[in-house]
Symmetry: C2
Subunit: 363 residues, 2 copies
């Protein structure tokens, strides 16, 4: 993996991340392919809208279909017929947000599956082994993602644990697979700083900020975002995990983050909430019933080129599968196009204006 | 509309139906696009797998989104972004199978919507008006589809009614839209004969047999199929409504039918039942868990070219939207390919062998 910054605009960076499976232009948005498919999309469609990398969830894939299946069927890329880069998370976030009856030990976490209650154990060694089998291009360290609010002492001990797990992940790093470390520390700046320093001393191919958007007020999140970015090495990709609100991502890119993932565009699509150049709309609204115009006249996606708002509303109200397909195509296209425009703005030294324009639209 | 028979093989016919929107090679299978979309498919995908015509359901479209919406949005073709031929049924079948509180009068049927219980009235005039607004290439007459079993007197009176409605539909036929008459008569051959003669004396662009597969034993259905075909003019397309079982369709093509529609391939796809060159399979079966092979090695569809049985099983068990998409692509491709092969067999005088081979596979 090779990362180079092509241009900067203040703290904001326009970079290129080269992997064996293809190039990722940053700032980059990674559609989430939870369980071996970006919901409602085919790999061809993802390519058509310009997705350069997608995310896979280690926790979900480990539980279903299981690593034995993915291993037998040739790894995650072959399994899901996607030949561009994949980043896998470590499972940490889901173990701490979805699984039940967790018991944390020095070596990892005992938990029960949210699907069938079966008992499992994942620690740094297991997380690296699973990600090795999945064969992702970028793996993440196994971390404890603490809840909000967390008291200082708990957060401090958790950073110690996350650091020791990160060190083990680094030891077990799979050949040919990049590994990013994840900074934790809750809302405590000194702990964030310590976590970042710990990880940098171990040394990773890239660095992420985790444990944000876990229930804290927006202001606190923005504090951690702008405080967190400069803690990370300038010459490595910086990934802000799980943040997909357009306004939040603008702030994060402003602070110097390069990579993002979020289920927001895909999940909202399935719920009928669509992003447009003039703001969000709910496609089910009565006013669209007879509307012959495209969802967004400024959008060139397949849905906007071929269908009317009236038809999209009808499909949504009728709970048709094509509704989820077209809405997802549109929202993901919108997100990827938003990032294309953002990259261009950075290259042209116009990121501040881009950010202002969008903050006005979103307000 | 122009229909010509290119070759015959016994009673079996290989024809070409020309419409203003494109050519339909017969025997033809028409995927069902109930409510303005063939479930899980995009129009591009339908074209890619070779669909030359699809069916739209007048009853469903009338209730949702409603003719006012489809009229405002430019007719059904434009509404759903499909520029090839569409055949619409008349609503008769659904009024008699789905709607509640029916009251039949000389002029038509009062019924309540199966969606919200709202009261409606459809008769021959309304059915033709709705189909005119939908703008289908082929419309069907409004008929009474009686249940099974039905006593002789009821069936006889029903044929009278269906004939009088057919006459009205013919009077109200929309310019530029072909109109097919529907033969009814339950399981009574003399009534079937009378119904066919009535319709032929009125004169239609094509003729259909309706009211089969309504609960009768297979043997009775096959009786009506082979008895019904020769009642219909040789020089017009013959459409067997709602029959999609492969074995039944082989019998019907053998008897001289040209057109078919059925939800079987699409509905089965969503339930995980898939058609292959060696018979049906249920994709959820444990034996496919680690299966790296394609669904059907003899199939060239997108799903078989790109994905393993193991992956398709995983998608199905995870209830992913892509599962319904890929399964539907496969089943419809299978059906359309089955008809392609059948047409070739007819041209080459080998339909009997084709039929035997498939009856063996299906048994």
């Amino acid at each position: 993996m090779n990362f180079r910054i092509r241009s900067t605009d203040g703290e904001t960076r326009r970079g290129v991340l080269e992997t064996g499976r293809g190039t990722i232009n940053t700032p980059a948005f990674m559609p989430v392919g939870t369980i071996g498919t970006v919901k409602a999309m085919s790999p061809d469609e993802l390519k058509e809208i310009g997705a350069e990398i997608i995310l896979g969830n280690t926790y979900h894939l480990y539980l279903r279909p299981g690593t034995d299946v993915i291993s037998t069927l040739g790894g995650l890329h072959k399994f899901m017929s996607w030949d561009r880069p994949i980043l896998t998370d470590s499972g940490g976030f889901q173990v701490f947000s979805l699984a039940a009856l967790r018991k944390i030990e020095e070596e990892g976490v005992h938990f029960r599956s949210h699907i069938d209650g079966s008992p499992h154990f994942i620690g740094p060694a297991e997380a690296m082994k699973i990600q090795g089998i999945l064969g992702s291009d970028i793996a993440m360290t196994f971390d404890e993602c603490i809840s909000y609010p967390a008291d200082y002492d708990y957060a401090a001990r958790s950073v110690e644990l996350t650091t020791s797990w990160a060190r083990k992940c680094r030891e077990y790093q799979n050949p040919g697979q990049a590994l990013f470390g994840i900074v934790q520390g809750g809302m405590y700046k000194d702990l964030r700083k310590k976590s970042a320093e710990d990880l940098i001393s171990i040394g990773f191919d890239g660095y992420a900020i985790g444990g944000v958007s876990v229930g804290e007020p927006k202001e606190e999140m923005h504090e951690i975002i702008s405080f967190g970015a400069p803690l990370l090495p300038k010459d490595r990709p910086r990934y802000l995990m799980g943040i997909g609100d357009l306004g939040d991502m603008l702030k994060a890119v402003d602070a110097g983050f390069d990579m993002f993932d979020c289920v927001m565009p895909t999940r909202n699509a399935r719920n009928g909430t669509l992003f447009t150049s003039t703001g969000r709309i709910s496609i089910k609204r009565e006013e669209f019933k007879y509307d012959a115009g495209p969802l967004d006249p400024n959008c060139s996606c397949h849905a906007c080129r071929n269908y009317s708002r009236g038809y999209l509303r009808h499909l949504f109200l009728s709970r048709e599968i094509l509704s989820m397909r077209l809405n997802t195509i549109h929202n993901l296209y919108f997100y990827l196009d938003f990032f294309r425009q953002m990259r261009q703005a950075i290259e042209e030294g116009g990121f501040s204006r881009f950010k202002e324009t969008w903050e006005q639209i979103l307000s």
